[in-house]
């Protein structure tokens, strides 16, 4: 149901109806809130900004903490269960803390055909972690990613916003050095 008549800003500050939402240990920063508000304007209704809102929070904090789910729900005027439904659906929204740098290794067919597995093993060896894990020093999180559209440069990967490829398994150590 689209809460068309529901206006988050007009909701009561005091209500007799108890609801266990809104844990108050999380506050959106002004910039975050502003960015989300601006994003709302691009669509027919605020719900559409939910993915963008999650990305806004994630951009600043690296991941989306529990409290942010409720905070975004509040700003957009949609149920927190909808926000969480979206947050847990998409693979690039992180609902757990990640390292300072996120390594996305393309594991799709073209990279697979250009020896992705050796590259993956090189990362695993070098970092001592597998997919979905974060190094103890919180520096790197390793994740697989869908075809990066860099098939002519396979095996390819992204670290943060940088695309790399083809990457030789022997170059992994030096590549990682670029990311403190």
């Amino acid at each position: 149901m689209e809460p068309s008549t529901r206006d988050a800003s007009a909701s009561s500050s005091y209500s007799l109806i108890a609801s266990d939402q809104y844990p108050d240990d999380f506050v959106l920063s002004d910039e975050e809130r502003e960015a989300i508000e601006q994003e709302k304007g691009h669509f027919e209704n605020p719900r559409a900004a939910s993915i963008e809102a999650l990305k806004i929070v994630q951009k600043r904090r690296g991941w989306v903490p529990d409290g942010a789910i409720y905070a975004i729900s509040n700003v957009l005027g949609i149920p927190s269960s909808d926000v969480e439904g979206v947050a847990t659906f998409y693979s690039l929204i992180f609902r757990q803390p990640v390292g300072r740098h996120v390594i996305l290794i393309c594991d799709s067919s073209s990279c697979f055909l250009t020896d992705y597995e050796q590259l993956r093993d090189a990362f695993t060896r070098e970092l001592g972690i597998g997919f979905g894990q974060t190094t103890e020093d919180n520096r790197f999180t390793l994740l697989p990613v869908c075809c990066l559209g860099a098939c002519d440069r396979g095996p390819a990967l992204m670290i943060d916003e940088d695309l790399h490829g083809p990457v030789d398994p022997g170059d992994v150590a030096s590549l990682l050095e670029q990311y403190a």
């Binding site: 149901m1 689209e2 809460p3 068309s4 008549t5 529901r6 009561s12 500050s13 005091y14 209500s15 007799l16 109806i17 108890a18 609801s19 266990d20 939402q21 027919e44 209704n45 529990d66 789910i69 409720y70 149920p79 927190s80 269960s81 909808d82 926000v83 969480e84 439904g85 847990t88 659906f89 998409y90 693979s91």
Partner: protein
């Protein structure tokens, strides 16, 4: 209509259905999961695949999902086609890959749709050899158990909870084979209809936690067709009993009333039946040595003592009850005489009930059935917080609002059953619902516009809208501009609508609010607009009692004096009137006889107590607020398990008492005789005869079975008492047996179904087999008989007493009772799971008043209201108007305080 050819046979079906719906309605078996008759199709589970052919000559055909395929005239279908069967077998095999196969320890086992469908498709070999995925479960509160490993990801739960019931705190999380249905975080499911998840879920993910506490398989329970006593809506329920305890309540399908859904009060509020402190034997209070002592009596003793005491009295006053059956009330009335009979309803409420009855019978618009409520295209609610007073009506109103989506979809050819497409197109656009209530409600999200005010303000709004619709309706002076604008908006919406619905009721205790609703109805009628009017009454049989007639409770309390005796029927007077006043009245009486099934303060105060049946141990007739007379049937005989249990229906006790007093033989030995006598004495109640088939009803010469034919352990269940098995209790009062013997089928039309079961259909989906078309009416017509004429007389003129403005006072607050779904109903409030969901007592003030007093949420405030002194924590509402004090209608709170003035206690002022 359309003709379809299924596996070589021709059938006439409804051309607007999808194939699945049409085939199921024909009685053909196609397995399915995600489709639900009340929620439509989404094509997710792929279980209902059938073969569809282009024409009679096409031999190849293509697989289609029958739920997503519209019925086309002259369509050729095969359910039995090998490819279709193989594909359906594959689907169930996939669904079962991660299913725990824990049926023996799963509470769904035995009434599990997944089990049924697995058997139907013939899947019995496991070929998947890999590890199953597992999930962690959540604590979802006292009502619902959660076991996500069993989930087959049909998405029905979220579709019901969110799309159908408007809930917000249940979602679908994750992706691919890792989908999770739950709350964002652990916690009680907030929606008032969460219990339906237990039936909507095709397997054991969501189960009835109140049932877990004393679990029994469906096939081991004894059932009867029953009526929920939780409010005046008259929802049909199917309580299940084992070893003398009600174990669970399931929905009982009634195509005109609740169809597939119940509210959580109705489903989970049965615990009072099983309370250990229930009186099970007659008791007499004996005074000796300044001590009051309880003396247990047998039936004869109880009758003799009562008769003797009552005969001594100069006058016997009878106080009936809106939570007791018509038959019991009637027998009491016969016992004491009409002139000494009180309905047990407080004066103000009783007057309002009479007013509502007058409007329902002589007003301008008909009263819709609950199902018909769903079919309106504009709704205005005056004064009633439906979610708290008649929750199932609130759910029906939600469907009315959502009906817009289907109508919009129809405009571009999207069939109503294509649920997600309908929602996509509508984008939340709804038919207008206007809520005029005291303060915020749990259905505010539905409201196009909300109006919050005192009773007179709500009444003034209603009167003003009526005037805006029809000039000849009395006008309202001095409305502010905002209200005037709202009045125009509402009037326009009602005029634009094809089927507007007006809803009001008695919970505000305001005559004017009800009159305003009547004027609205009349105004619409004057403008040649058709529509309906729903007036919600307070309790399960309030409408019935108003029709039966009698004095008010106040009359009884005021009249009781020296030399009088009083018989109180299933009524705790302390819950309806001030304690001092009740004490005074009962104190004045020579003798107080109380017939009840609960150890209430009135019971404890009585001289003689007679233990009576709840809905589970007796039969009777109730009249719901739509004027539908419905029979509830005894579920079990308590004395079978507890030989010392002397519980009997109130009507039996009171009739026996009556005849004992008159030293004659009893007239009535079965319910039908009492019903008949009641109908004869009260022409307005003549229709109660047809509320249900009589005790002589038979199908193929058989009575109807209360127990499934697999009922086990009957020979052993009393072995702790005696190893020789007695004859099963005999039921003279109804056509049902206390046994698995008797008819339990669906082939013969019937409207009274104790439990829905058909071969291969053990889950609630078995109702398919009992309906004329799936989701339609029961084959033997829907239970109950409407006592109101389909068209009211339209004799009633406009009410002209427009109330003046609310006069706010500086020194006092006007008290308004706030109804609570969990807590305001006296009986369910005695059930432990409901108590866990009950609000703690509080007082409520507006934000402005709180600021003025310099108090905050949680501040303990003391108010005096008449003789009451309340010290309670404060809750603040931004929606409540200034000058009003909200007092929740909860068990420990004073009852008769509506419209009183509350004064702030001295200590708070300081």
């Amino acid at each position: 209509m359309a003709t379809i050819h299924v596996d070589g046979k021709d059938y006439e079906v409804d051309g607007s259905d999808n194939l699945l719906h049409a085939c199921l309605s024909l009685g053909l078996d196609i397995p399915y999961f995600c489709w639900h008759p009340a929620m439509g199709s989404v094509g997710a589970c792929r279980q209902c695949a059938v073969k569809q052919y282009k024409d009679a000559d096409d031999t190849r055909g293509t697989l289609v999902m029958s739920c997503m395929a519209p019925v086309k005239d002259d369509a050729y279908i095969s359910i039995e086609d090998d490819e279709a069967k193989d594909f359906r077998a594959s689907v169930i095999e996939w669904l079962m890959t991660n299913h725990p196969h824990d049926c023996p320890v799963c509470e769904e086992g035995g009434h599990c749709h997944l089990q049924d469908m697995t058997v139907m498709t013939g899947h019995d070999r496991r070929r998947y050899r890999f590890a199953k995925r597992t999930h962690r479960n959540q604590n979802l509160g006292p009502f619902i158990g959660h076991e996500m490993n069993r989930c087959i990801t049909c998405y029905r739960c979220v579709r019901f909870y969110k799309d159908y019931a408007g809930g917000e705190d249940l979602g679908a999380f994750g992706a691919h084979e890792n989908i999770y249905f739950g709350r964002t975080t652990d916690g009680t499911l907030e929606n008032e209809f969460s219990g339906n998840l237990t039936e909507v879920c095709p397997t054991g993910v969501f189960t009835d936690q109140t049932h877990s506490e004393h679990y029994t398989r469906k096939w081991d329970m004894q059932f009867a067709p029953s009526i929920c006593h939780g409010c005046s809506s008259g929802c049909n329920i199917s309580p299940g009993e084992r070893y003398g305890d009600v174990r669970r309540i399931e929905n009982r399908y009634n195509g005109e009333v609740n169809h597939y859904f119940l509210c959580d009060r109705g489903r989970f509020g049965y615990g009072y039946v099983n309370r250990a402190d229930r009186p099970r034997q007659p008791v007499m209070r004996v005074d000796s040595d300044d001590e009051r002592r309880d003396e247990l009596l047998d039936v004869g003793g109880a009758l003799d003592h009562s008769a003797e005491r009552l005969k001594k009295a100069q006058r016997v006053i009878g106080i009936g009850s809106p939570r007791a059956s018509l038959e019991s009330n009637h027998v009491l009335r016969e016992l004491v005489g009409a002139e000494h009979f009180s309905t047990g309803i407080a004066q103000q409420e009783y007057e309002n009930l009479q007013l509502m009855l007058e409007i329902q019978r002589e007003g301008a618009l008909p009263t819709p059935s609950m199902r018909e409520i769903e079919d309106h295209d504009a709704v205005i609610v005056l004064g009633e917080d439906l979610m708290q007073t008649a929750a199932r009506v609130a759910l029906a109103v939600r469907q009315a609002a959502n009906g817009r989506a289907q109508d919009l979809a129809a405009e571009i050819g999207i069939p109503a059953w294509n649920a997600n497409a309908v929602n996509t197109l509508a984008q939340g656009r709804q038919y207008p619902v206007f809520l005029a209530t005291l303060t915020e409600t749990r259905m505010d999200d539905l409201a196009r516009e909300r109006f919050h005010g005192s009773a007179e303000e709500i009444a003034r709004l209603g009167f003003a809208v009526a005037h805006a619709l029809d000039d000849s309706a009395p006008a309202v002076e001095g409305l502010d501009e905002a209200t005037q604008t709202l009045v125009s908006t509402i009037a326009e919406a009602l005029m634009t609508a094809e089927r507007p619905l007006i809803i009001s009721g008695g919970s505000m205790g305001s005559r004017e609010v009800i009159q305003a609703a009547a004027n609205l109805a009349r105004a619409l009628r004057q403008r040649d607009r058709r529509g309906s009017l729903t007036l919600v009454s307070g309790e399960a049989n309030s409408t019935g009692l108003a029709m039966l007639g009698g004095h008010s409770l106040d009359w009884a309390l005021d009249s009781l004096g020296e030399g009088d005796a009083v018989v109180v029927l299933e009524n705790d007077l302390y819950a309806r009137a001030d304690a001092e006043r009740v004490d005074r009245a009962l104190g004045a009486a020579e003798c107080v006889v109380c017939a009840d099934h609960q150890s209430t303060p009135t019971w404890l105060r009585a001289d003689i107590g007679l233990p009576v049946a709840t809905f589970a141990e007796g039969d009777g007739t109730l009249v719901s607020h739509e004027g539908r007379a419905q029979r509830f049937f005894q579920v079990y005989d308590p004395s079978y398990y507890r030989p010392n249990d002397l519980t009997h229906e109130s009507w039996r006790w009171l009739h026996a008492l009556h005849t004992t007093m008159e030293a004659r033989r009893v007239d009535w030995t079965q319910l039908d005789e009492v019903t008949e006598d009641c109908a004869e004495h009260h022409p307005q109640l003549a229709g109660i005869r047809d509320a249900a088939p009589s005790a002589s009803f038979r199908i193929k010469g058989q009575k109807l079975a209360r127990e499934p034919h697999r009922y086990s352990g009957r020979t052993a269940m009393r072995a702790n008492i005696s190893v020789s098995e007695p004859r099963a209790p005999q039921d003279a009062d109804s056509a049902f047996t206390f046994s698995m013997e008797g008819y339990n089928g669906y082939a013969e039309p019937r409207s009274q179904v104790a439990f829905a079961w058909a071969p291969g259909w053990n889950s609630p989906q078995a109702w398919n087999k009992f309906q004329d078309e799936v989701g339609g009416h029961l084959t033997g017509s829907d239970p109950g008989n409407r006592l109101f004429e389909p068209e009211p007389d339209n004799r009633l003129e406009y009410f002209t007493a427009v109330p003046g403005r609310f006069e706010q006072r500086d020194d006092a607050w006007r008290v308004a009772r706030l109804p609570h779904l969990f807590g305001s109903d006296e009986m369910s409030a005695r059930a432990e799971p409901i108590q866990q969901r009950m609000s703690a007592p509080y007082v409520a003030l507006s934000e402005g008043d709180a600021r003025r007093l310099g108090v905050d949420v949680g501040t303990e405030l003391t108010f005096t209201i008449g003789s009451h002194r309340l010290t309670l924590p404060l809750r603040i509402s931004s929606e409540l108007r200034d000058g009003v004090l909200g007092v929740p209608a909860l068990p420990t709170m004073p009852a008769a305080v509506n419209h009183e003035w509350a004064h702030l206690g001295e200590e708070t002022k300081a």
